[in-house]
Symmetry: D2
Subunit: 373 residues, 4 copies
């Protein structure tokens, strides 16, 4: 007898439409599959973009929620983790949302850029609800055979990991691209979940000055809590004075490394302006197309001898490395404090609205929470 008959899920039926609750039967278990009873999912900025239809190639209806924690309630065959240890009923796990990276195409083998594998499918984003319980805003999640599962260490509470959420692997990847050196000054543009975790990881990568440019105030307070040396509130300072402040903090040279995690196209112009000559500019926040900007190739790139690095997606290494960070530094950074509010499935539209309007740092989805209404 199975743990349940059906799973309630919050479904995004179409771009531009509100989320609605649907019920699905539990899936038939393929060999190697795992069934999770969802503990927590989250709302990330991408989910807002999904609702607005800003991403191409999304097979609506979808069950959102790409980074999740769940308890293993069923296994079929002998699924294992990356250390070849068996996955067992009762374990608390997360998993890499990116699946079906083929390992065979040119990008996977020769290009060694698996985040550009054309075969990859993403839980909560590019799997359709018609294909199964393949997103986290659902009471159960079906992990297809081969999904890369990562157990939570005992010392990592589910709230802490989900507080870091999808910003964790994303920021790990961004910092990998950033190649911070001991003593560098790093500016992070954006104080959402990616920006805040990037600000943590910049410190853990050797930066001795970390400046967060963002807003509103509660997010910047979080930035200070997690160790940012300086915050600059975009709701209070204009572009010119923000640049002046960065130069003032960097002996007039500008940031050694800037990490764009805001998503605003114009942030790229601003970042170019205060990154030092021969510095590095990592773009991780431009996840959706919000329009063009004007740049000057001579002044912005060539004469600056600037490195600009786009950073797309993440792979299992980023999730694994991120988990090591949360395990080691959980008490220092307490990512669970990023969670501003918990929402039941019935409140998903409210959650999306709160995220869209920056009323939260991190919005948690608890599919088993009874509505507060």
């Amino acid at each position: 007898m199975r743990v349940a008959e059906i799973s309630r899920a919050a479904v995004l039926p179409q771009a531009g439409q509100p989320v609605e609750i649907r019920e699905y039967p539990l899936p038939r278990m393929e060999d190697g599959a795992v069934l999770l009873r969802t503990k927590y999912s989250e709302v990330c900025g991408t989910d807002v973009h999904l609702q607005h239809g800003h991403l191409s190639g999304v097979p609506y209806p979808i069950i959102p929620g790409h980074v999740n924690v769940g308890e293993v309630v069923e296994t079929a065959g002998h699924p294992t983790d990356q250390d070849n240890q068996p996955i067992s009923v009762g374990q608390l796990v997360t998993f890499l949302d990116v699946n079906e990276t083929c390992g065979r195409c040119w990008y996977c083998t020769v290009g060694k850029a698996s985040t550009r594998c054309p075969h990859r499918r993403v839980y909560g984003i590019t799997y359709s609800a018609d294909e199964g319980l393949l997103g986290g805003w659902s009471q159960f999640i079906y992990l297809k055979p081969g999904v890369k599962i990562l157990p939570l260490p005992e010392t990592v509470p589910a709230e802490r990991f989900i507080g870091a959420g999808c910003g964790l692997p994303t920021a790990v990847h961004a910092l990998e691209r950033a190649q911070v050196m001991l003593g560098d000054t790093v500016v992070v543009q954006g104080s959402g979940p990616v920006g805040l975790t990037a600000a943590i990881l910049a410190q853990l990568s050797g930066a001795t000055k970390v400046i967060v440019i963002g807003g509103p105030a509660p997010r910047l307070q979080e930035a200070l809590r997690i160790g940012a040396d300086e915050v600059i509130d975009i709701t209070r300072f204009d572009i010119k004075s923000r640049k002046e402040r960065v130069l003032e903090l960097t002996s007039g040279r500008g940031a050694d490394i800037t990490i764009e995690a805001s998503g605003a196209p114009q942030a790229v112009n601003e970042g170019f302006s205060f990154t030092r000559d021969a510095g590095r500019y990592v773009i991780v926040g431009q996840y959706t197309d919000l329009g063009d900007i004007r740049i000057n190739p001579h002044l912005d790139i060539n004469r600056k001898h600037l490195d600009i690095r786009g950073c797309w997606g993440s792979d299992f290494s980023h999730l694994w490395r991120g988990m090591r960070i949360v395990e080691k530094y959980g008490e220092r950074y307490r990512w669970e404090q990023f969670i501003t509010r918990r929402y039941g499935l019935d409140e998903a539209n409210q959650a999306l609205d709160d995220v869209a309007h920056w009323r939260t740092v991190k919005a948690l989805i608890d599919p088993w929470q009874r509505s507060e209404r």
Copy 2:
């Protein structure tokens, strides 16, 4: 008694004015200095920009000519080369145009980005004619103490080295930034001296397909002569068909690496469009400010997971490495064939005009040539 009393030089008196001939007394020799009897100088696109006033901070009047070959006619004290060998009268040498890199400032010591040292001065560009014979369009050139001198190997004729000219160290630096791997496809945008030598160096760095996009026809014939696998004539194909051609030649993926050596701002847009996901885009051609472009941070950089690398100036390593290449591969590539025409000092304005209008691949200045008029 000295080798001569005075030196004729072609001087750019002011931005926007024609070059004029002036005469200067030979300089007093400081300890460690070297006096060259100029064999050849060259006209590069930068000289056209200098005449048009496109560069900031130029101390007009200047004697243009930043890459030069000369014969040592006087030395003071005991100047040496990088192998600690004495520099002797009669030697044929070139020298690094960039001088006074301080070795002490933050960029030189901590940033390890000496091409951004604020103290650097450049022969033919940022030294004034009022300071001495510090440019190559002159019968004699004064090498201040500490200028980095590089003897020409016996097997490298002066014409060959100057045929490569300032495009050589520039392209070596660009290829250093490009990090070509064996089997890569490299697109070079621009078929001037930098582009052509970049196309040579791409081959020598392991690329198995090198595509040059440029024009006009004589330059593309040079591109084919030096081994480009494909040339695309911008005077005959529009942007859309150029992109299609690149994709067709790269299994639909685009170039692994693109090197922008055209100087046209819009080339950057075009290059983004046909560089593959997770590829690399090196900008070396945007040496002067010719205006803005519009880009889309999401599509052009972030989703592509693109690396963009500005490449400014060059240091002695690029000149030294470039000389090794010319020494080894001189007979294969015969850079002297890039020289379309030789000009005396009296013809400098004609030379600038020919370069400005792409009538040459490489214009050589011979300060001792009697006018053909």
Copy 3:
């Protein structure tokens, strides 16, 4: 009806024993599998070590032959290549000998070092003949589902590719580790197939001086043929004079990069002695355990500020990149000329003996050749 009933194969029954001919039925085709009619296999130094039992973990009996070319004679399901193109009967292909790299373990995902994946199995080395036709010294080769197949371009004759053989991907990997810069001097220790192709690839990676140290004379003649600037015959010069020669050729500094491809443990000592300070030493030849050496950590590594890089195995990118090189530079380097002699299956023991005693550069196995006896 199938193309044949049985396949003759040359089998190594046990370490220390001669090869013997056995017959096997053709395999049942799993979904996604491909059957090749072997065109050519080769004998590499590893095969000699396999016969002598120098490798651990070899599941004798085995069918040797890890790099092979064959004609597709059967397919099951829809196997494809890395560009997602179908593999069709009649195609001439090679394939990556390394199979079953899991793509899931820590080394594959986090370590990004798939050549250290514990699950990998290698055709001709770590597959047993009891498991099937999984080595190239056989008239037919069974490509299990998922084996990475690479079609030969039309312009690459089978002889040319097999002349390069397993030295090709191995040398591509070694050069990837070597990170040659334009103008570097590279010493290659060893003039067998890996060393010779490394000497080619060093040139194609930007080295302007390539010195091959090895022997005997016919191999060094091949080294000169493929463009080595200097060869040093170990049968004529002792260690001291070899070092002196390298220093003489490098302004007394030593090699920028040395690639050890000889397999002799003492070569490592010799290589340390003539690699320059802050240079790089790539060890690719020490494929089997032939004993210890004495080194001095202070003088050999620390004070030299030396980089030493072990290079184990290869992955599909190395095979793919190597194929691009052979495709582009086939006429220049004519790898088929490395083939000293062709052997039928009956002559496999003779072939092993000839390779063991350096009587060949490359020994080709043609499983369909009638014995010359």
Copy 4:
């Protein structure tokens, strides 16, 4: 009138002899020079080796003491720091011990390996006492024109900086070579000043598990104090059990990165044994020749696909970056607690003996301290 007439100094007259006190007149100030009243110097393991004559090319008699803090008491001309700020009387500064790196030779320009510049001279090591007050065990230190001076930030007490001492730039350089990634496990071999600061910097570079192998107990207590996750006492555990412990702590794989900072040649063998496949091994401790070891190139390097990186000396960037670290993390790591004891000049021989026998973590030299005897 000058601040003093003479300077007392502790001088090492010859290899194998005890230190003796000598008096020197204050030097004539060259243009650009700076005179320091020494605040603190230190005793490092190198000083013990200097006394024992383990280094070649030392111009005895020398005044030891290569990393020092002093107060500026005289300047000549207009010396500046790397930010072009004037150096003024009264400032508390340190300086890079390595001087006269030429900036012109092949290693400085082409090799970009200035720590191998043949012209470099080192305060306290390769300057003779006959040349002046060029070492820190002296009441005054003469900074020649061009010595790279670094002011101590106001928040960095002299004791704190000297507690880190020469281990600071050395460890910064070692970590630069180590390229730690977020989530790595780093083993540090050696618990002296270099090892302890390396253990700090490994944490600050992203390592989530840092294991220090060393002794005796007081040093390991310091290791735990500064955040090592595990210490392994070499006086209590043999080589076999040390390796087992490392494997146990790393899921059986071994360390991602090992930093050798012990100086014992056999530590290299031990380190090879527990560094994981495709890991990295940085050798920074083998500063003097203490003999040979036996290694197996196949097992230790090739099959492991290991990177081994020698790390020699340091440059100004390492000192500058180290200062940023001490400035930022001074309160967390309190390097001043490494100082076990302060010695006057008269006690220099005692200090050397205490360092030689591991009775201290860091021995401070205060040239103005009256003898405690």
